[in-house]
Point group: C2
Chain length 223, copies 2
């Protein structure tokens, strides 16, 4: 029994890259968008790339209804607007929120909204019945979309529900990345802030997609 | 001409570990403390370990006066209290602030003071004439003090003065670590917050000193 994942914002490059890797590793993935036609188009592009029919496109509410686990990969400005109408549909599900609160034009500068995590704010807005897990803030979309190379970046996973975090870590492992539990949902602030540092680092060192690795673990199994 | 470094809080394990590595690689290092006797004692311990006379102990004001570069490694609660009386003595010097705003007992939870960087706050308090550089937040004291092993952790370096950041990155390189420029001083928030994640990770994975590495750089020379 495989987890059905909906990727809201899957028409964008970060969500599309994760959806591509999910489909490529045998998962059924639903691309969600406000615009059903764009969702179907993005799903077709994924199926064409992998030569299999594993992605389908739906409008967001249908995508959420059909999924066990919902991944949100929309720009910060759209985060709460996208989630609020889906609150009922999300009850009982896991929401993986990859939001990074970048504030253009100074995207290489840390600017946490109200000095706190945007994902922790989503957990507050949605209420504790929806298990929100933060992940994927630091993974380069460019690398996700390049199936010829493995992604040299760990995924920091933060959330208040240990079992939900474990499921997300397992899913991350299934697409070939390493997910690492990094504390409760407020801790997402560090992952969100780190993205601006990676942008600053990309500029300074002319890198196309710097990332992070956690060192010093003798095992990536929880102790 | 070698940089003379004063380590305020060098009687503690993080500052002591950096001072040890500086002395071990041939630098003259001044241990600063509120208590001159404790500073001298910590300096003697370093000299005994390396078998050379490279560390001296002084009270903080004398340590700052004698140094080109001042490193602050005190607990968050002591940060501003330590700096304020040294403001005049610090004029024209580089202050490397390693402060991490941990709020016991919940040290594994991100709690940035007023939602912002503690080091950026020091820059505000001291004024722009003192070049404040943030560094060393994520490096395990345990690993710094173990000279038999190299430290598997990059040092994120944030600051508003590019030349000061470059000098700090060179010093970090001289003690065998890799310093990486990661943006202006506000960006220290990410490094400070990351320390709580590393504490959470240490607990979850039974690690003694997890760290971070930046991936995806073809060179660590600025582009």
């Amino acid at each position: 029994m495989s987890t059905v994942v909906a990727v809201l914002g899957g028409t964008g490059s970060e969500g599309g890259g994760i959806a591509l890797r999910l489909a490529h590793t045998g998962h059924t993935v639903i691309i969600g968008s406000r615009d059903e036609e764009r969702a179907k188009e993005a799903a077709r592009a994924i199926n064409d790339r992998i030569g299999q029919e594993r992605a389908v496109g739906m409008a967001n509410p249908a995508a959420v209804a059909a999924a066990d686990l919902v991944l949100l990969t929309v720009p910060y400005a759209a985060q709460i607007k996208t989630l609020e109408p889906l609150r009922q549909a999300l009850q009982g599900k896991i929401l993986v929120d990859a939001t990074v609160p970048l504030m253009p034009p100074k995207v290489s500068r840390v600017q946490l909204p109200n000095g706190a995590s945007a994902v922790a704010h989503a957990q507050e807005v949605l209420g504790s019945e929806i298990r929100v897990v933060s992940a994927f803030q630091n993974v380069s979309a460019h690398h996700l979309n390049d199936l010829d190379h493995s992604v040299d970046c760990d995924v920091l996973v933060c959330g208040n529900d240990a079992s939900a975090c474990d499921q997300v870590i397992a899913l991350i492992g299934a697409i070939g990345l390493r997910g690492i539990y990094a504390g409760t949902i407020e801790n997402s602030a560090a992952a969100e802030a780190m993205t601006s540092l990676l942008i600053a680092i990309n500029r300074r060192y002319k890198a196309s997609g710097s990332g992070i690795r956690i060192t010093g673990l003798s095992t990536s199994e929880p102790g």
